[in-house]
C-alpha cells in the first residue's frame, strides 16, 4: 500500500515535469510583435546587449555576484542533501547530541562577510561614485527628458547648448508640450521630440524631469535607470560605444498609472550624419498639413 502510493506520487511528479517542459516549449513560440520600429540588440533570458562604455561594470558585478551565489548555494545544498540522506530516521539510529564544532560555519560566515565587503567596497561604491559624480567633461550632448503620463519628451537645447525656460502654465499638449517660453532667447533654437537621438561614441548628459508623477527612465541596453521625481531635476550620464548605431528601447520602470506598460520610447543611436539629418528634419519649419 505504502509503496503503491509512492508510485502514484512519482507518476504525478513526472507528469508535472513533463507539463513544465511543454510550457517552456510553448513559450518559445511567441511571435515577435510589431512595434513600429525594428529594435536592435539581442534579448533573451539573460542580460541584454550592452552598448554603453561603462555598462560592463554593472554586468561584471551582476555576474560575479551570481557566480558567488550559485557557488554558495550549491556547496551549501550539497551539505544539506548529504545531511538529509545520511541522517534520516531509521531503526537503530539516534540523533547524536554531541554538537558539531562551530568552526566551519564560523569560517563560512566570515568568508561571506569578507566577500560582501569586497563586492561593496571594490565593485560597488567606486562605480557608484563614478556614475553619480564624475560627469563627463568631453563636451557631452545635453538632453532633457521630461516624463509625463504616459510619454517621454526629449528636449534638445539646440546649437547654443542652453535650455530655454519652461513654464507649466503655458503647456499645450499639441503645440508646446513642455511650456517653452517664446520670449526666452536661450530657448529660440530648442526643439522637442518624442524620439531620443544620441550620437554613437559620444557621452550624453541627461537631465530627468517629471511633469506629474514618479516615472523611471530605464534603458536596458545602457544599464541606465533613474527615477524621474516631480519637483527635481536629476542629471545622469552615459556614453555609447562606437559602432552601436541602431534603435533601442526606453521604458518606464516605476508604476505611473494605467498605461505604465505602454510608456515606451525609442532611442536612436545615430552616426553623426544621421543625427544631423534628423535634427534638420525636426527643426524644419512645419509645412501646412494637407489631407489627402
Amino acid at each position: 500500500m505504502r509503496r503503491c502510493s509512492w508510485r502514484i506520487f512519482l507518476a504525478v511528479v513526472f507528469g508535472c515535469v513533463v507539463l513544465g517542459q511543454t510550457s517552456v516549449l510553448r513559450a518559445q513560440a511567441v511571435a515577435p510583435k510589431d512595434t513600429g520600429v525594428k529594435i536592435d540588440g539581442e534579448y533573451g533570458p539573460f542580460l541584454p546587449t550592452d552598448i554603453s562604455v561603462d555598462g560592463y561594470q554593472v554586468d561584471r558585478l551582476i555576474n560575479v555576484l551570481h557566480v558567488f551565489m550559485i557557488g554558495l548555494f550549491v556547496g551549501w545544498g550539497l551539505f544539506f542533501a548529504f545531511c538529509l540522506v545520511k541522517y534520516r530516521q531509521r531503526p537503530g539510529h539516534r540523533a547524536n547530541s554531541v554538537l558539531i564544532k562551530a568552526k566551519p560555519s564560523k569560517y563560512l560566515e566570515i568568508a561571506v562577510a569578507i566577500f560582501e565587503a569586497v563586492l561593496l567596497f571594490g565593485f560597488s561604491i567606486p562605480v557608484w561614485a563614478r556614475v553619480k559624480s564624475e560627469f563627463p567633461t568631453d563636451d557631452p550632448m545635453r538632453v532633457r527628458v521630461v516624463a509625463e503620463q504616459f510619454a517621454w519628451n526629449f528636449h534638445y537645447p539646440g546649437a547654443d547648448k542652453k535650455f530655454g525656460k519652461l513654464n507649466p502654465k503655458i503647456i499645450d499638449l499639441v503645440k508646446n508640450p513642455l511650456g517653452r517660453m517664446d520670449d526666452d532667447p536661450a530657448g529660440k533654437d530648442d526643439f522637442v521630440s518624442g524620439e531620443f537621438h544620441v550620437i554613437e561614441g559620444r557621452s550624453v548628459v541627461v537631465e530627468i524631469l517629471s511633469k506629474d508623477v514618479i516615472h523611471s527612465f530605464f534603458v536596458p541596453v545602457l544599464r541606465v535607470k533613474q527615477d524621474a521625481i516631480p519637483g527635481m531635476r536629476i542629471p545622469i550620464w552615459f556614453k555609447t560605444k562606437e559602432k552601436t548605431a541602431g534603435a533601442y528601447e526606453i521604458g518606464c520602470a516605476q508604476l505611473c498609472g494605467n498605461n505604465h506598460f505602454s510608456m515606451r520610447a525609442v532611442m536612436h543611436v545615430d552616426t553623426p550624419e544621421q543625427y544631423a539629418a534628423w535634427v534638420k528634419k525636426v527643426t524644419a519649419p512645419p509645412e501646412e498639413f494637407k489631407e489627402d
Partner: protein
C-alpha cells in the same frame, strides 16, 4: 495558578471581567464563546481562518493577473464572463491589472501573512509555549482581531466603489496615489483600511510584548524561551516601532487626497496637460522614506516568525537541540535592530548621493550576515540528526533552500550598482517572492501541519499532505524561478503587458511558464483544503504530544481547555533537550522535573 496569584481575598480574581464574575461557571453564549471571544486560542483560530481566506483571495487575484500577463488582452476563461463589470469584454484592462496588483500585495502582506504569522500562530502558540493562561490583555486581543477584520472589510469593499480599488501599487507612491482616481474612493479606502490594520497590529504587538515579559511560567528565563517566542518578541517590537511612521504617512496622504494639502506634492504639477491646484512645496520622497521606514522592518515581520516556526519544527523532527540557539537569538535581535536602518536601499535610484548610498549599502550587507547565521545554524542542526520526514518537516526543510535563494538574490539588489539594472524589474519580484512565498508560506503550511493536532486534537492526513508538499514545491519554483531571468532581461515589474517591449517579448515564454506554474500551484492547494477540513472532523485522534516535542505547548491537553494547562507549568530546562544521553526517551520536555541536562 496559585503560585502566581498574588493575594487572597474574595476580590482578587477575575479583575478583568467583573461582569463575568459569578458563582460557578455559567456557559457563555455562542457569540461570546466563538465570535467575540477573549480566549487567545479562539482569537488565534479566528485570525488563522480569516487570514487563510485572504491568502486564498489574494492568490486568486494573482492567478487572474497571470492570465493577462501570459495572454495579454485575451478574454479570461470563465472568470472574465462571470464578472463583466470588472473585465470589459472578458479581458483585463490595464487599470484593473494595476488595481489587482496593488490589492494582491496589500492583501497578501497586511491581511494574509502578517495576521497568519503573528495573529494566528503568535496568538495560539506563543502563550502556550510560555506557559501562560492567556494573553496579558485578552479584551485588547479581541479588539485587535476585530479592528483587523474591519480593515479587511474596508479593503474588500474598495473593489466595489466607483473607480475600483487602489491602483497605485501596494507601495502607494505619491503623487500617483494622490492624483489617481481623485474623485473616487479606492485609494482613500485603502488608506483608511491601512489605518485599521496598523491599529490592529499596534494593539497586538503591545499585547505580545507584555505577555512575553510578564506571563512566562516559573523557571522560563528569556534564554529558555523557544526560538519561536523570541521571533515573536522581536517581531512585535518591529511592529510597535515601525508601523507608526506609516500611520503618520497614511494620515498625510489622506490629507493630500481629502483636504487638498501638498505634503507629497511639489510645485507646478501638470497632469494630463492641466495645471493642478495644489499649492506645492511638498516632497514625493517623503512618502517613500516614511513608507520604507515601515516596510523594510515589515519584511522582517514577514520572515522572522516563519524562521521561528521552522526552527521549532526542525528541532522537533531532527530529535536534536537547535544548533547555536544563543547565536540565533542574538542574530534575530540584531536583525530586528538593523532592519530599521536599511530602508533607503529601496530608493537607490531616486537620485541618491554617494554617502547615503554607501551607508545603506553597507547596512544592507551587514544585515545579510545574521540571516546567514540563522540559516546556517538551522542547516547544521541537521548534521548528526535523526530526521523524521513528516509533512511539517518537509515544508520546513523546503523553507531552507527556498529562503536561501530569496536571501542570496537580495544581494544584487542591495548593492547600488547592480541595483541600477535590476531595480523594479522582475528580479525584485522573484527575490521577495522566494522569501515570502516558498519561504514564509511554506513555513505557514509547516506550522499548520505541525500545530493542527494541538488545536483540534486530530492529525492531518500524511499522504495528502505529502502530495500537497511535492506539488507545491515543484510549481512554486516553476512559478517564481523564471522571474529572475525576466529580471535579468530587463523586464520591469507592474507591466500589464510586457510584449510591447522587445526585451519583454523575448522572454514572454518564461512569463507563460510562470503563469502555468502559478495556476498549477493553485490546483496543488486542493489536497490541502480537503485535508484541512476533513481532518478537522475525521482525522486520527491524538494525545497531547503527538510529535514527542519538548516545549510547553505539548504539555497542555489537545485542544487546550480554557486557561490552557491542567496545572500551572514550571520549567526546568531549555527548550530543545532532545537525545539527552542517559535518558531512555529521546526527548526531555521542558516542564518535566528531573536531573538537569
Amino acid at each position: 495558578m496559585a503560585q502566581h496569584q498574588h493575594k487572597g481575598g474574595g476580590h482578587g480574581h477575575d479583575h478583568h471581567h467583573h461582569d463575568d464574575h459569578g458563582a460557578g461557571h455559567h456557559e457563555l453564549s455562542y457569540w461570546r464563546k466563538y465570535i467575540f471571544s477573549v480566549d487567545h486560542k479562539i482569537i488565534g483560530i479566528q485570525y488563522g481562518l480569516t487570514a487563510l481566506c485572504f491568502l486564498f483571495f489574494g492568490f486568486s487575484l494573482m492567478m487572474i493577473m497571470r492570465w493577462q500577463l501570459a495572454y495579454p488582452n485575451k478574454p479570461i476563461p470563465v472568470i472574465g464572463s462571470l464578472f463583466p463589470s470588472f473585465f470589459p469584454g472578458g479581458a483585463m484592462a490595464p487599470e484593473m491589472y494595476n488595481a489587482f496588483g496593488a490589492m494582491h500585495g496589500t492583501i497578501m502582506v497586511f491581511l494574509g501573512v502578517v495576521p497568519m504569522l503573528v495573529g494566528a500562530f503568535g496568538n495560539y502558540v506563543m502563550p502556550l509555549q510560555i506557559g501562560a493562561p492567556d494573553m496579558a490583555f485578552p479584551k485588547l486581543n479581541m479588539m485587535s482581531y476585530w479592528v483587523y477584520f474591519c480593515g479587511g472589510v474596508t479593503m474588500l469593499a474598495s473593489f466595489f466603489v466607483k473607480g475600483g480599488a487602489a491602483q497605485s501599487g501596494w507601495t502607494s507612491y505619491a503623487p500617483l496615489s494622490v492624483i489617481t482616481q481623485p474623485h473616487q474612493w479606492g485609494q482613500t479606502m485603502w488608506l483608511i483600511g491601512m489605518v485599521f490594520l496598523i491599529t490592529s497590529s499596534l494593539l497586538g504587538s503591545i499585547n505580545f510584548i507584555t505577555t512575553i515579559v510578564q506571563l512566562r511560567a516559573k523557571g522560563l528565563t528569556m534564554f529558555r524561551l523557544p526560538f519561536f517566542v523570541w521571533a515573536q518578541f522581536v517581531t512585535s517590537f518591529l511592529l510597535l516601532l515601525a508601523f507608526p511612521p506609516l500611520e503618520a504617512a497614511g494620515i498625510l496622504q489622506l490629507m493630500d487626497r481629502v483636504a487638498g494639502t501638498s505634503f507629497f506634492m511639489p510645485e507646478g504639477l501638470v497632469v494630463s496637460g492641466q495645471m493642478q491646484s495644489y499649492t506645492g512645496g511638498g516632497n514625493p520622497l517623503l512618502w517613500q522614506h516614511l513608507f520604507w521606514f515601515l516596510a523594510h522592518p515589515e519584511v522582517y515581520v514577514l520572515i522572522l516568525p516563519a524562521m521561528g516556526m521552522v526552527a521549532e519544527i526542525i528541532a522537533s523532527n531532527t530529535r536534536k537541540a537547535l544548533w547555536g540557539y544563543r547565536t540565533m537569538v542574538y542574530s534575530i535581535i540584531f536583525l530586528g535592530f538593523m532592519s530599521f536602518i536599511v530602508w533607503a536601499h529601496h530608493m537607490f535610484i531616486t537620485g541618491m548621493g554617494q554617502k547615503m548610498a554607501a551607508f545603506f549599502a553597507t547596512t544592507t550587507m551587514i544585515i545579510s550576515i545574521p540571516s546567514v547565521v540563522i540559516l546556517t545554524a538551522m542547516v547544521i542542526t541537521l548534521h548528526g540528526a535523526s530526521i523524521r520526514f513528516n509533512v511539517p518537516m518537509l515544508f520546513a526543510l523546503a523553507f531552507l533552500p527556498m529562503f536561501a535563494i530569496g536571501g542570496l538574490t537580495g544581494l544584487p539588489l542591495g548593492l547600488p550598482v547592480s541595483d541600477i539594472q535590476l531595480h523594479d524589474t522582475y528580479y525584485v519580484i522573484g527575490h521577495f517572492h522566494y522569501v515570502v512565498a516558498p519561504g514564509t508560506i511554506f513555513a505557514i503550511f509547516a506550522g499548520i501541519y505541525f500545530w493542527f493536532p494541538k488545536a483540534t486534537g486530530r492529525m492531518m492526513n500524511e499522504a495528502l499532505g505529502k502530495v500537497h508538499f511535492v506539488l507545491s514545491f515543484i510549481f512554486i519554483n516553476v512559478a517564481f524561478m523564471p522571474m529572475f531571468f525576466q529580471g535579468l532581461a530587463g523586464v520591469s515589474r507592474r507591466l500589464a503587458d510586457q510584449t510591447g517591449y522587445a526585451h519583454g517579448n523575448a522572454v514572454q515564454g518564461l512569463t507563460r511558464m510562470s503563469s502555468w506554474g502559478a495556476w498549477m500551484l493553485g490546483l496543488s492547494q486542493v489536497p490541502f483544503i480537503i485535508n484541512f477540513f476533513v481532518s478537522m472532523f475525521a482525522g486520527r485522534k491524538v494525545s497531547e504530544n503527538p510529535w514527542e516535542s519538548t516545549t510547553l505547548e505539548w504539555s497542555a491537553p489537545s485542544p487546550p481547555p480554557h486557561g490552557n494547562f491542567k496545572s500551572t507549568p514550571v520549567v526546568h530546562r531549555g527548550p530543545y533537550e532532545y537525545g539527552v544521553p542517559g535518558i531512555a526517551k529521546d526527548y526531555f520536555p521542558q516542564h518535566q522535573a528531573g536531573a538537569e541536562a
